[in-house]
Amino acid sequence: MSDQSADIAQRHDWGSARFQSNLARRRRNEKILAAFGLGAIAMAFLVLAILLWTLISGGAQAFRQTHVAIEVPVSAEWVDPADPAKGNYRNVIRDAMQTTFPDADPSELRALSGILSNAAQFVVRDKVVADPSLIGQTVSIDVPTSDPYDQLNKGNVDTQSAENTRRLSDADIAAFQQLKDQDRISLPINWALFTNADSRFPELAGLKGAIVGSAYALLICFLISFPLGIGAAIYLEEFAPKNKLSDIIEVNINNLAAVPSVVFGLLALAVFLGWFGMPRSAPLVGGLTLGIMTLPTIIIATRAALKAVPPSIREAALGVGASKQQVVFGHVLPLAMPGILTGTIIGLAQALGETAPLLLIGMNAFVTAAPATPFDASTALPTQIFIWADSPERGFVSRTSAAILVLLGFLVVMNAVAIWLRNRFERRW
C-alpha cells in the first residue's frame, strides 16, 4: 500500500491566473447552456402563443354575426294562401328590398337582395307557413347578412382598395352604409354557430352536426374501449401467467399504441365498410375506429393504475380468505379507478381530436343536418375543421378558427376533469 506517487499530494494554487481564467470560462459555458435551454423553452412558448393568438384573434369574430332587420311585405301575388310553402319567397325578399331602398331600380335590386343571407327567404317562409294570415301583411325579420357584408361590417374589407380587387362594389358598400344609418344593422352573438349544422354559406354554417357526430362517436368509442381495455388490463396485470403468449400480447399492445392513426382508418375502411358493409360517414363506424385506437392507451393507463396499488392491499384481502377475483374486483379495482378514469379521459380527449381515420371512412361528408342516430351520415368536430379550412370563403377562415376554439374548449374541459380527478383522488402509498 505504499505505492503513492507524489502527484496526488501536490497542492494546486487555485488562486492562480490559470485556474481563475479556466473557472471563468467554465462558468460562462454553464450560462451559455442554460441560455440555450431557456431559449428553446421560450421558443416553444412563443410558438404556442402565436398559435393561440392566431386562433383567438381570427376566431373571435365568428362568435358574432352581422344581422340586418327589415320589414318584408308578404304579397299575395307571390304566395298562394292555399299552399304557402310553395310561394316565391325570392320575390318577396326583393319586394322587401324595394321597400327599404325605394330609389333602387330593378337591376340593382338583385344585388341588394344579396345583402341578406340566403336564409332570409326561408325565415319568411317558415313564418308564413306557421301563420298564413300574414299573407298581405308585413313581417319583420332579423336575419344574418351574407358573408361579404358580414366581413365588411367586421372591418375586414379595405374600402380604399381598388374596386375590382374586392367582392363588394362601392355601390354595395354605400347600400350597406344606408342600412347602417337606418339602424338596421346589428352584431349579435352568433348562436347559429352552435344551433346550425354545416352549410355552403358561411353565415349559416354551424357546428351542431359536428358536435353531435363527435359526441356519438366518442360515446361509442368509450363503450368499446373502456370495458375491453379494463378487462384486458386486469387480465394482463393480475391474472396472466408470465409466458410467451402474454409477452406477445404485451409487445403487441405497446406497438399498437404507436401505429399511425391513418392505418386504423385503412383498417376501418377495409373491414367495417368493405367486409361488414357498415354505412359510410356514420359516427358508429367512426366510434368503432376511435375505440380500437384508444384501446391500447386505456390498457396501458389501467395497468399503470393497477400497478400503483400496493401489494399489501392484495395480501391483506387474500389473507382474510377472499378469492383472487374478489380481491381484484372488490379491493384493487376501486382503488385504481381514479387512475383508470384519468387515463380514459385523456385517451378520449386524444380520440376527440383525431382526424385522419375519420377522413378515410368518409366523416368529411357535406351534411346539412345533425345526425339523429349514430347510423346517419355526419361529420365530427376535427373533420368539420378540415372541411372549413379547405373552403375559400373569407367567412370560413374565421369560422375554422372558431371551430378550433370550440374543439380546444372541449379538450381543455376534458383534461381539466382528468387533472381534477387525479388531484382529488390520487393517493400516495
Binding site: F45, I253, V259, V271, A356, N415
Partner: protein, 458 residues
C-alpha cells in the same frame, strides 16, 4: 329491433339474478349449507344470459348487411346483371340501397324498385328473427341456470371462470386488431400487386396515380412507383426532426438541471399543451400562418419557395414533436441515478459539465429511443401534411420545394367515393402496408431500446 333485443336481454338478466338468488337463499333458509353465497348464483344467471345473447346480437348485426345484400342481389331476375362489371354491380347495389332508404333519384328501373322492396322486407324479417333468436337464447340460459341452483353447486367458481374467459377475450382483442390491420392491408395490397407488379411499386420513381378513371383510358398511364412518395416523407420527417430534436433536448436539459421547481411546475404542463393540440389544428396553423410567413421570407431573400413547401409542413410537425421529445428526454435524464449527478458535482463539475459529460451520455439510450419514436410519429403523421404538404410526387430533397408523403397519398386516394377494385384505391392500401411496416420496425427497435434502458437503472 336492436333496442328491443337489448331490453329483452337486460330484463332477462335482472330476472335471472333475482330468481336464482332467491332460490339459493330459500335453500339456505331451508337449513342447507350453500357452497357459494346467493349473489354468485344470481351472477351466474346474469352471465349465462348476457354473454351468449350479446354474442348473438353482435354477430347478427355484423353479418346481416352482407347476407341480406347477397340475398337481394342473387334474387334479382335472371340476366339483369349479365354483362355488368363489378363496378356497375356495386353501383346498382348502392342505388337499390338508397331507394330502400327512401332516397329515390329520377325514375329507376322496376327491378331496382322490386329489389329495394325485397331488401326492406328482408331487413324487417331479419330484425324480428334476431329478437326471436335472442329470446330463445335468453330463455335457455334462464332455464339452465335455474336448474343449476343447488347447495353443492360451485357458483363462485363458475362465475369466476366465465369472468376470466371474458378478460382473456378482451386481451386477445388487442391481438385481433393487429391481425386485422395486417390482414386487411396485406389482402388489399395483394390485389394491388396483381394489377401493378410489386417491383414497379417498390423501385419505380414515378408516382402518378390519378390517371385511370374510365375503362377506355389507358391504365398503364398511371404510375405507381412509391420511391418519390417515400423520399418526400423522409424530407419532411428530416425537417421536423432537425428542428424538434435540438429544441426538445435543450428544453429538457434546462427543465431537468437549471429550472427552479416553480418554473418547472409551470413550464412542463405548458409544453404538454403543445402535445395535446389536435394535429388538424396544426395543419390549419401551417396553411394560415407558417406557410405564408416562409413564403414571405423566401420572397424577401429572393429564394423561390413552393407554396406547399416541405419546410412549412416539417416545421409545424416539429412544433408538435418538441414536447414529445422534451418529455421523453426529461424522463430519461431523471432516470439517471442521482448518485451519478452527486458524484460529478462533488468533483467540482459545473451543472453544465455534469449535464453534458455525465447525465446526458448516461441518458443517451433512452433519448435515442424517444427520438426513434418521434421519427415514427413524423412518418405516420397525417393531418399536418394533408393540409400543408403538396400532392405531386417529386424526386427532390429540397425542403423549399413541394413534396408529398405516404400519408397524404393514402388520404387523397381514399377521400371521396371509393371502389375496392381500382388500382388507385388499392394503391393506398399498399402504401398503408409500407407505412405500417416502416413504423412498426422503428417502434420495435425504439421500444426495445427504451426497455433496455429502463432495466439498466432499475
Amino acid at each position: 329491433m336492436t333496442g328491443i333485443a337489448f331490453a329483452l336481454l337486460l330484463t332477462a338478466a335482472l330476472t335471472g339474478y333475482m330468481m336464482n338468488r332467491r332460490a339459493a337463499l330459500a335453500l339456505r333458509d331451508g337449513g342447507q349449507r350453500l357452497h357459494s353465497v346467493g349473489m354468485f348464483h344470481g351472477l351466474y344467471a346474469v352471465l349465462a344470459v348476457v354473454v351468449p345473447s350479446v354474442v348473438v346480437i353482435l354477430l347478427w348485426l355484423m353479418l346481416q348487411a352482407p347476407v341480406i345484400n347477397a340475398m337481394v342481389m342473387s334474387g334479382l331476375p335472371a340476366g339483369t346483371l349479365d354483362g355488368l362489371d363489378s363496378g356497375a354491380r356495386q353501383l346498382a347495389q348502392a342505388e337499390i340501397q338508397s331507394i330502400a332508404g327512401g332516397r329515390i333519384f329520377g325514375s329507376p328501373e322496376s327491378w331496382k324498385l322490386d329489389a329495394a322492396e325485397r331488401l326492406n322486407s328482408l331487413r324487417g324479417l331479419s330484425g324480428w328473427l334476431m329478437v326471436a333468436v335472442v329470446a330463445l337464447v335468453v330463455a335457455a340460459g334462464l332455464w339452465l341456470t335455474r336448474r343449476s341452483v343447488a347447495p353443492q353447486f360451485r357458483a363462485r367458481q363458475a362465475v369466476e371462470r366465465i369472468v376470466l374467459g371474458l378478460m382473456i377475450f378482451c386481451s386477445v382483442i388487442a391481438v385481433f386488431v393487429t391481425v386485422g390491420i395486417v390482414l386487411s392491408l396485406v389482402f388489399e395490397s395483394i390485389r394491388f400487386f396483381q394489377m401493378v407488379p410489386i417491383t414497379e411499386f417498390l423501385f419505380g420513381t414515378r408516382w402518378e396515380p390519378q390517371i385511370p378513371i374510365r375503362a377506355d383510358q389507358i391504365a398503364a398511364d398511371g404510375a405507381f412507383g412509391w420511391l418519390p412518395v417515400l423520399l418526400g416523407t423522409l424530407v419532411i420527417t428530416f425537417v421536423a426532426i432537425v428542428i424538434s430534436v435540438p429544441v426538445g433536448l435543450m428544453s429538457a436539459i434546462y427543465l431537468n438541471e437549471f429550472a427552479s421547481p416553480r418554473f418547472r411546475a409551470v413550464a412542463k404542463p405548458m409544453l404538454e399543451i403543445l402535445a395535446g393540440i389536435p394535429t388538424v389544428v396544426y395543419g390549419f396553423f401551417a396553411i394560415l400562418t407558417v406557410a405564408p410567413a416562409i413564403r414571405a421570407w423566401g420572397a424577401a431573400l429572393g429564394i423561390p419557395v413552393a407554396p406547399n413547401t416541405a419546410l412549412a409542413a416539417g416545421g409545424v410537425m416539429a412544433i408538435m414533436l418538441i414536447p414529445f421529445i422534451s418529455s421523453f428526454a426529461d424522463d430519461a435524464l431523471s432516470a439517471v441515478p442521482r448518485s451519478l449527478r452527486d458524484g460529478s458535482m462533488a468533483l467540482g463539475a459545473t451543472r453544465s459539465e455534469t449535464m453534458l459529460k455525465v447525465l446526458f451520455p448516461a441518458a443517451v439510450p433512452g433519448i435515442v429511443g424517444g427520438v426513434l419514436l418521434a421519427i415514427s410519429r413524423a412518418i405516420g403523421e397525417t393531418m399536418i401534411v394533408v393540409m400543408a404538404a403538396g400532392l405531386i410526387a417529386k424526386m427532390t430533397i429540397n425542403p423549399l420545394d413541394s413534396v408529398t408523403t405516404v400519408t397524404v397519398q393514402i388520404v387523397t386516394l381514399l377521400i371521396g367515393d371509393t371502389e375496392f377494385d381500382s388500382p388507385k384505391t388499392l394503391a393506398a392500401f399498399a402504401l398503408g402496408l409500407m407505412l405500417f411496416i416502416l413504423t412498426l420496425l422503428i417502434n420495435i427497435v425504439a421500444l426495445r431500446v427504451v426497455r433496455k434502458y429502463r432495466e439498466l437503472y432499475d
